[in-house]
């Protein structure tokens, strides 16, 4: 205990290296446990959420009756099933609310956050989603009005809800969720004006039959243990023939898929970023621990000479190294989940909706921590053993000069012509490989993080350019109401000199035996306002008869230019065979694109959902138009959606500064401590301080330059990984501009130089008389 106390007192001399071990082990463990605990917590909370709400495994779309439901329920593939209708309604102030009308609630139950349980058999009330209510100051008990075509429905809010189908949702024109302008609600069938709805839907009513039972429900949701969607498709084809349009599994429902992708991305992050810290922490631990122990060489000799048992001496040093790494790891184990984990939960809650965002724990936290502690203790043991095995007499004497031989650089033909400081540093470098390697790894880590952070901005800038200068080269977008005739849309287009655009859902497969993918079809009039871009994200003109397939789907389905494939629109039975005319790229809409003429010649009915134009459409009023968005609105919404990325960039910059400071400063401390006597000797001999400063900073600066160069391509890899690990629903045009590489290089180099300069002040404190004394 006394020896350990002595060690702790002595630690003042090596305060920075000791703090580096603590801080880096904290960083490594906190980073790993923070991200992982957030992930584990999300996965477990989500599992419970899905179980509590009996979330459907499959969604079958079409128009179904209660009889068909009963028939389907008989299948052994189906566990639970029910019908419901989704109605796209608007509030009085034009916000979009997806209304679910149902007469029973077995599957995909709403999760009640406030108010009464959902009562599907009731004849009144509406259950509104809680985030919309919070954002718009709506409370339980308030009257709430929704409009659908000519129908106006007003009901009292009986409860506030969440739904796992809406873990992620956003309005069409938003880049990121803004919960104040979109929502969803549940309503019992008996509270819904079924008769008016059926009339609008142009269905004939049977006078003798109950009106509610005459309403065809457009969704059939079911739970099943069957994992193959094609089996469910087959079942739907058999039991719901003529009524079934398409089937989606959980992984294809956008509201669920987005969080799936996010969790997957975080799982990747939980390894890649902590790995940088863990590698650096390990290297710092190995170099620092061995240096600290080597500096205590004579003290170890003195302890041996005093008769203290070698096991006891080793034990004290092991306890010391254990203490340092364990403090950092323990702090990381506590701080990771509580700080990073809970912060991530809060950030996730800004975008996603779940009742709870807690943090989980895993045995891997303790394994990683134990591993770090073990490496630290092991490196202390190895250094200590080496010294302790030396005869006491030799330890007590001043250390003999370090055995050296010619380094590789000395074989250079121009070696003799090099300056002293250069020769000195090249030799020192080749003789302190681990220390320099640690700096190199640290710089590579810093450079890749800086390049990724700036590349993140470049990518977002490039994506914005791609979206607004290439794909959507228009000033105004007019969204049509659903019941507008084509001729009315065409007259608006003519008046505004615009272009009509149709987006719809399709199913696509390579051939009749291949897997079916859900995708989109985009049909344009080829006027250059709503475009298709090639693989270099540059606009190209679609030719008549040409079908472009986006690269994301092409890759998934294994298709390339010239291949034939099958596709059909939702609700249609007939598969159309087409050839991939070109491979295109699109940010959010993945599928096929073609001209109106091509679509119509294939027998398609052109149903545009928007008109895009350069003429100012905001000043005009059309009854056929639901909403108008200007380019400025769209760009503003795009920019608002980037908040999350800025957080990532700030985190990267903090990580970079931490790594750079610890690695460079620690390296400077170790290198200075090692060469202190030499520097003092040189100073006594009359060498100028400026030359000493140059010698001191040169190695770190060389390592900085080398690390920056090696780190550059890694920056691109990490950035690519970061964006692509988020799933394939969006195609990111990952880009790092040359200026960002240069800027990253300058930033890392400058910061490294400043740290070196800051440390070089230590030269002032160099104790020259000390060098006159013995070596230690």
């Amino acid at each position: 205990m006394m020896l350990l106390k002595k060690l702790l007192r002595d630690s003042k001399k090596n305060l920075f290296p000791i703090l580096s071990i603590i801080v880096l082990s904290f960083n490594a463990v906190a980073c790993f446990t923070g991200i992982t605990s957030s992930n584990l917590g999300t996965v477990s909370d989500r599992k419970k959420y899905h179980e509590d709400t009996v979330l459907a495994d499959y969604w079958i779309y079409g128009g179904f009756t209660a009889e068909q439901l009963d028939e389907l329920r008989e299948s052994p593939l189906v566990d639970k099933a029910q019908l419901r209708t989704e109605i796209d309604t608007d509030t009085e102030n034009g916000n979009r609310i997806f209304l679910y009308v149902e007469y029973e609630n077995e599957v995909s139950k709403p999760y009640i956050t406030e108010g009464e349980e959902f009562a599907p058999e009731s004849d009144n009330g509406i259950w509104l989603n809680s985030r919309y209510a919070e954002e718009n100051d709506i409370a339980v008990g308030d009257e709430f009005t929704l409009k659908y075509e000519s129908i106006s429905i007003t009901q009292k809010i009986r409860g506030l809800i969440m739904s796992p189908e809406y873990e992620y949702y956003k309005a069409e024109n938003d880049t990121e969720p803004d919960f104040s302008n979109i929502g969803f609600a549940y309503m019992p069938l008996k509270a819904f004006p079924v008769e008016e709805y059926i009339r609008i839907k142009s269905s004939a009513l049977n006078d003798g039959q109950d009106i509610s039972s005459q309403m065809k429900m457009d969704q059939l949701v079911l739970t099943s243990d069957e994992s193959d969607i094609n089996e469910i498709r087959k079942l739907a084809g058999e039991k719901l023939s003529g009524s079934f349009v398409s089937v989606l599994s959980r992984s294809e429902v956008q509201g669920i898929k987005m969080l799936d992708d996010e969790i997957h991305q975080h799982e990747m992050f939980a390894y890649i970023f902590p790995a940088i810290f863990v590698v650096i922490a390990l290297m710092i631990m190995i170099t620092t621990m061995s240096r600290i122990i080597n500096e205590s060489r004579m003290q170890i000799g003195a302890m041996k000479a005093l008769g203290i048992k070698r096991e006891k001496i080793i034990r004290q040093y092991l306890a010391f190294s254990f203490l340092l790494s364990a403090i950092g790891c323990a702090a990381g184990l506590i701080g990771g989940p509580t700080l990073i984990g809970s912060l991530m939960g809060k950030f996730m809650a800004l975008t996603y909706t779940m009742p709870e965002w807690s943090c989980g724990y895993s045995p891997s936290f303790f394994i990683v921590s134990a591993g770090l502690v073990a490496v630290c203790v092991f490196s202390a043991y190895m250094s200590c053993r080496k010294i302790i095995n030396t005869p006491t007499r030799d330890i007590l004497y001043p250390r003999a000069p370090k055995k050296v031989k010619k380094c590789i650089f000395e074989r250079l033909p121009f070696w003799e012509k090099l300056k002293f400081s250069l020769q000195y540093n090249l030799r020192d470098m080749s003789r302190n490989k681990v220390r320099n390697l640690t700096v190199l790894v640290g710089i590579i880590g810093s450079m890749l993080l800086t390049a990724s952070a700036l590349g993140c901005l470049d990518t977002l800038d490039n994506m914005k350019r791609w979206n607004f200068d290439e794909l959507q080269k228009f000033e105004y977008q007019l969204n049509f109401n659903s019941d507008v005739k084509l001729s009315d849309k065409e007259s608006i287009r003519d008046e505004l000199n615009g272009e009509l655009v149709m987006n719809a859902g399709i199913e696509l497969k390579k051939d009749s035996d291949s897997k079916t993918y859900n995708a989109s079809i985009t049909v344009t009039e080829g006027k250059g306002l709503y475009n298709v871009t090639d693989e270099d994200t540059k606009v190209y003109e679609l030719k008549d008869g040409e079908i472009a397939l986006t690269s994301v789907i092409a890759e998934k389905a294994g298709l390339k230019k010239g291949d034939s494939f099958l596709w059909k629109e939702y609700g249609k039975d007939e598969w159309i065979s087409s050839t991939v005319g070109s491979i295109s790229r699109s940010i959010g809409v993945q599928g096929i694109s073609m001209l109106r003429s091509t679509y119509e010649s294939a027998g398609g009915e052109f149903k545009p959902d928007m008109c895009v134009t350069d003429e100012n459409a905001e000043e005009r009023s059309y009854s056929a138009v639901k909403s108008v968005s200007s380019k400025a609105d769209l760009e503003k919404s795009w920019d608002n959606g980037l908040q999350m990325y800025y957080v990532v960039i700030i985190v990267f910059i903090i990580m970079t500064i931490t790594i750079l400071f610890i690695v460079i400063y620690n390296s400077a401390v170790l290198s200075f401590n090692e060469r202190q006597k030499e520097f003092a000797t040189l100073k006594v001999c009359g060498i100028k301080k400026s030359i000493l400063r140059k010698i001191m900073t040169a190695q770190n600066m060389w390592m900085t330059a080398l690390g920056c160069l090696i780190g550059m391509p890694f920056g691109r890899i990490v950035l690519n990984y970061m964006f692509t690990s988020g799933g394939d629903s969006q195609d990111f045009a990952v880009k790092i501009y040359l200026r960002s590489y240069i800027l990253s290089f300058i930033c890392v180099t400058l910061f490294s130089y400043l740290i070196n300069l800051f440390f070089a002040r230590t030269l002032r404190k160099l104790n020259m008389p000390e060098c006159m004394k013995a070596n230690e």
Binding site: V404, F420, L682, K689
Partner: protein
């Protein structure tokens, strides 16, 4: 008549403040002439190393004046002091203080980085008898050889004063004598002032002047008219 090289005028050196203040050197006065071999003798803690460090420009007095070669070095700025150490002083350390990563030749040739017109490194190594080992690293040489390289390095700057802080302290008797002889001869030959600090009274016999120190003060200064040749010393 030799000219005056070094003069100490009422020099004090204290460390610490208040109750913790203590004097390493107290009111020291002496003169050293050009080309003299001087030994500063005293027990551990007598203040002899502090005096040497102040002559060498690596420590400065708290009070008093130090005149070297007619110039008061007491108020030198750091850059002036660097130049002073570079051009006037050659240090020989007890533990040689060679740069372990440099060969013997490079350790001597290092002075090219320090002074404008150094003496030739090969000539210096020849002078100390190590020309054949010029490519050896310190770890490949004995203690005596390392100390000879250290002497060559000190001489290569062609300084007017050579300072040695227990230069034979880490060497065996025979090697110590050889090293001392070498320093002695070279200084005599080139008319350098040699100042040695030691607690070994026997070494004092070869000096022209012996400054005895005790309790931070000069006890006495003895001029030796007939110094004993180094090879006759009992170390």
């Amino acid at each position: 008549m030799s000219k005056e090289m070094i003069r100490f005028e009422h020099v004090f050196r204290s460390y610490g403040e208040g109750e913790n203040q203590f004097y390493a050197v107290k009111d020291v006065n002496f003169e050293i002439l050009e080309g003299e071999v001087v030994v500063i003798l005293g027990q551990s803690g007598a203040g002899k190393s502090t005096v040497l460090n102040m002559i060498g420009g690596i420590d400065s007095p708290s009070k008093g004046k130090i005149i070297v070669n007619g110039k008061d070095i007491t108020d030198y700025y750091e850059s002036q002091m660097s130049d002073y150490r570079a051009y006037e002083i050659g240090f020989v350390f007890q533990f040689y203080n060679l740069l372990t990563g440099l060969t013997a030749f490079e350790n001597v040739n290092l002075v090219r980085e320090i002074v404008k017109e150094p003496l030739d490194a090969d000539t210096m190594l020849e002078a100390v008898g190590l020309i054949k080992k010029k490519k050896k690293f310190p770890s490949q040489m004995s203690g005596g050889e390392q100390q000879r390289v250290s002497i060559a390095r000190a001489l290569a700057k062609n300084p007017s004063i050579i300072l040695g802080d227990e230069p034979t302290g880490a060497l065996d008797s025979e090697t110590g004598k050889k090293v001392l002889r070498l320093m002695y001869d070279v200084c005599r030959e080139h008319n350098k002032t040699l100042i040695l600090v030691t607690h070994n009274a026997n070494i004092a016999q070869c000096a022209d002047k012996v400054i005895y120190m005790k309790n931070s003060q000069i006890q006495k200064i003895v001029t030796n008219d007939s110094p004993v040749p180094v090879e006759e010393l009992e170390l």
